[in-house]
Every structure is written in C-alpha cells, then in structure tokens.
Symmetry: C2
Subunit: 315 residues, 2 copies
DNA sequence: ACTGTTTACGTCACGCGTAACGATG
DNA sequence: CATCGTTACGCGTGACGTAAACAGT
C-alpha cells in the first residue's frame, strides 16, 4: 500500500475516471490503471467498479482510511521540515469564511493571495473582536516582524494546508454538540483549540412563514428547500445526523465561500441554510433543537511554532 | 516516505541499532542503512545520530507520526479484508491484564493461545461482573457458534492487534482524568467505548509509613521508589504529566503482565505502583489528587463486526 | 582490534510510458 | 465509432544483497 497508489486511488475515486485522475496526477492512463490493479491485487479484492467508476464496498472502506493517511504523511513531512527552518519571516493564516463569527465579526483584514479569498467575513459592525481578530492580533504581537497573510478557503483546504505546513495556522468553523469538539475527522493529529462559539439560526427569506418565530426545531424543517453550502453553512449531512432525519436534501449546492452571495440566494427564496447567529441575515430563526452550536477552532501543526504563544494567550 | 522506509526507521529507533533492526526485519544492514539515508535524503535532514543510534529532533518529530501512520495502514488493510470474509467462526478478544478491574474482577475465563497470556486477571472474588465478563458474555451471546479465544497482553499489542484485525475486540485499561477518554494516542481511528472505571490506589508494602492513610496526593510521592510496570500499572510518564512533576523515576522496570508478580514485588518493598482500587493488594492508599481514574475501554476496528452488537448492549 | 555503519557495485525487479487491444455505451 | 480502461512490451530507475572500505569505542 504505497502512498502513491493510495493517492491515485483517492484521486480516481474523486474524479470518477481513470483518465481524469491520470491527467490530474501527471501520469498516463496506463499508469493509473496499473496503480489501481496493483492495489486491488495487493488487497485481494476489486476496489472500483468500472464504467462508471464507483468504489466497491471494499473500496469505500479503503477511502475512509486513505485520505487521513495521506494527510498525516503530509503532516509528518511538514513537521520534520519545520524543525529545520528558522522562524519564518512570513506566515499564512487560513480561515473558513465564518470562522470569525461567534463573538462578533471583524473588519476584513487585508485578504491575501492564495485560493478563493472571497468576501471574507466582513459581517457588519463588531461588538467584540471575533476569533479571527484575536488570532490575528496575537500572531502579530508575538511575531512583530512577520508578514502575515490571510486566506479564506474551505474547511478541507484549511485542514490540508495546515497539515502540509502551507498555512501556519488555521481557523475552522463548524457545527457540533454544545461542548463537543469539532469532528475534524481527518485532522485528529493536529493540535486544536476551541476559540469561539455561537448559537445557530436558520436564515430565511423575509416572507417565509417562519420569519419572526422565536425558535424552532430543525426536524420540522427536514423537508424544506435547503441550500447545500458545505464551506459556509452547516453541511446538510451534519443536520441529518444531528436530527436523525433523512431529510435536508439539497435543492441545490453553493460551492463558494462568499457569505453575501449565499445570503442573497436565501433571501431570494432559493432555499434555507443553518448559519451562526452572528451573520447579518435579514431574517432568521434561532435553532432551539437539537442542541447544537457553531464553533470555531484553531488548528496548528506544531506547538513549537508561532501558534504556541497564541495558544497560551487564548487559553 | 514509503511505508517500508518508515517501518525500518521506527525499528531502528526502537532497537537503537541498524544491524539489530536489519535482523528483525529480515534485511541486511546495508539495506537498512540505505533505507535510512533514503529517508534522510528525502526529508533533507539527518534523522538519526549514529553511534550511539539516537533520533535527532527531526527524527523525533517523524517518530511521532510514523507509528500511527503504520498502524493506520494496517487498519486500512484489515478493514478492507474484513469486507470480504464471511462472519468468522472464531475470534480473539484481547485484553490488558487489568482491563477487567472497575466493577469487580472476573474468574479467569479459559485463557487462550497467543502472546503472553499470563496470569490474567483472576483478581479475587467478584462483586459484580467486570468489563471482561460483560464483553465475553455479550460476544458469546451474539455469536453463539463462534469460538472465542481470550488473550492477555500489553496495551500496544492490544491496540496493534485490533488495528491489524488479529483481534476482533480489545479491552484496554489506562489512567485518565475523570471523564476524559483514554488517550490511546495512536488508536484514534479505532472505535472506542468506555466500559468501566475505578478509583486509583497506590499499592504499598505493608510496613510502609503511609499504609493505613485515608488518602494521599501523588505529588508527595514523586520521590519515592517506583516500579515502572507500563503494561500493568499507571505508566510513570502519565503520573509525571498528571502531577506536573518530574519525579516518579523508576527504581526498576517490570515488563511482565502478571499482577501477582507485581504485587509481590511491591509488597516486598521493591517499589510502589499506582493501580486500580479493585486489585487485591494487601496494603493500599487511595489517590486523592490529582483527580484521576482507572478506565477500561473497548476497542474495535469495525462496526460491522461482532462488536457492533456488543456496543449497542453496552451503551 | 572489533563492532557496526557506510559505500561501491552488480543483479534483478518494478514502475512508467508507448502503443496495441478490448470493452462499452 | 468514439471513449475509456486494460494488456503487452521495452526501457530506465531503484531496491536489495555481497563485499569491501571506513569509523568509532
């Protein structure tokens, strides 16, 4: 189970195609085919059904393990490399778009290069500084000379980037039971600190019958039109799991990280989404049940890094 | 970072010798040497100091990751293989020696083949059935025809065995803060269920000045003579971490899994050990501070396995 | 001097690409 | 028939063992 094989396996599974995976990885289709059959050979069972390319049950089990393994390999490499490098003169702080919600939002500190640095989280007037503001302030105080770049991207990119050492620090938000940690399934080996939490609301169009209600039980909305915005709102599978319902089927998917766009979609009636209370949505109803909160956690790969100081200051 | 390289790296680090590792792995010294330099080359830094063979800081970082990665690779393989096999006609339940403590001990159910099946945990008359008894009973009820073998071994062997699929189920005991899970560092990806807990005591020789006390703070014993019995008692590093002291230095190490032997050692004054309250030690003092408990957790690799039923019955 | 690691070198296998083949919609 | 996966084959790289050089204790 060479990591290369594993990597092409997950890529093929993602792409649903040998040739697409080959291109993405810079191999020939032939090589990819050989990788897969090497794996299948080694494990003694088919992992993919061909045409269409679909994981077999065995393949699904392998997929559950492959990504975390690759992630951890990346972390290992990054961790080792970090022992060599002198304190960086520049570092990147990555965040999911709503990781700043909770205590209030922050002014959009100069968004940096990198990935999908969308509108960020300039979510209106801040009562008290949010997680991002705290993180930024601390980084800058503890590393006066260091050039800090801020990048906004999806959960997975943040986790992968922190694991691989591309990002020094990550802020990730998500939905969890009140005092549970975020289930960053694949990031178990990264150090994690909770930094903020917030209640949840359902964002609604203004004319929605529920608008103005004092609160609601999510279950009752299982059959509503939902927007799946996994990098921004509570992912629908999480809602399904939390309510034990199999509703919450996406009317459509918004893959972006721009809050404003999502709110526009919601307001204009394309569907609902569960968001932290602090977002400036025109019409919202608090989620009373099940008991869930919006949570922000800080991620970092290595305590000997800048994040160490940060950590002690946040605790 | 080929797993093979990683494996020889951890083996070399464990053995403290290239040649010993070579023998253990069935390679020549030369191959081992090449593996290590391949790794060092790939990562761009020395990982081991030679003569004596000792990890560099970079090597230590890598070691932290290597074992879990290898463990998870094993789990992945085992998980995939499991999707193929029909329900087993025989299964092995592995347990650490004291995983049965907590609610009371159990009669030593026929100890099986395998590893170091020592004296097991026949620790006197049981008030109510312990974790092992519960686990065994449930396995046998849910798998009437299945031949169940019980094996007693150290924590690491249990974890590795469950990960690799050698053991269907594992019971692991350890020391943790009152409602924390056991920190089975490398086993994060295995499913885990707490099944029992117990208070902690320090086992003493009869004539020890503290004998008969109502309770004590561990810190006060930091400088006592301690026996390091990592597979049986609370490992000393755990005590150091929990007390924030750097005492608890081992007078000597007992590598076995036999409780009776350890108690004999303690009683005859060779040193102290922290054990669950339910062990039949002649002279004990409850540990009042720090707040720690002895905990038993059930480990299994796959919910679709026998353990699934078990789980639901234990919950 | 002895033990133990590294280096040099030869062999063999493996991994990848090219290209022909096969299957499927 | 067009697309996509598989198989056959050849080449180069890389992995391992043998054996000689080298370095600590």
């Amino acid at each position: 189970m060479d990591p290369h094989l594993l990597r092409t396996f997950v890529t093929v599974a993602e792409c649903g195609s040998f040739s697409a995976a080959a291109e993405r990885l810079g191999y020939t289709q032939s090589a990819v085919s050989q990788h897969i059959s090497a794996l299948e050979n080694d494990l003694g069972t088919p992992l993919l059904r061909r045409r269409p390319v679909t994981p077999t049950p065995a393949g699904e089990r392998l997929l559950e393990h492959a990504a975390p393994i690759l992630l951890r390999l990346a972390t290992a490499r990054a961790d080792v490399r970090r022992t060599l490098a002198q304190p960086p003169t520049a570092l990147i702080l990555a965040t999911t778009p709503l990781a700043t919600a909770g205590a209030g939002a922050t002014a959009g500190a100069g968004a940096g290069a990198g990935a999908g640095a969308g509108a960020g989280a300039d979510a209106g007037a801040a009562a008290q500084p949010g997680a991002l503001a705290v993180a930024l302030r601390e980084v800058r105080r503890s590393h006066p000379g260091t050039e800090v770049t801020l990048t906004v991207c999806g959960r997975d990119e943040v986790v992968e980037g922190v694991a691989a050492g591309t990002f020094a620090i990550g802020l990730v938000d998500g939905v969890a039971a009140p005092s549970d940690p975020l289930r960053l399934s694949d990031a178990v080996h990264l150090r994690t600190t909770p930094v903020a939490h917030d209640d949840l609301i359902v964002a609604l169009p203004n004319d929605h019958p529920l608008a103005g209600r004092r609160g609601l039980a999510l279950r009752d909305l299982a059959d509503a039109r939902w927007i799946d915005a996994p990098d921004l709102a509570a992912p629908l599978p999480v809602l399904r799991a939390a309510t034990g319902s199999d509703g919450f089927r996406p009317a459509f998917t918004y893959a972006g990280t721009d809050l404003h766009t999502l709110l526009t979609l919601i307001t204009s009636g394309h569907g609902l989404a569960v968001l932290p209370r602090s977002v400036p949505a025109p019409s919202t109803v608090p989620v009373m049940s099940p008991r869930l909160v919006h949570r922000t956690e800080l991620l970092h790969g290595d305590l000997s890094e800048p994040a160490a100081l940060l950590l002690s200051n946040l605790k």
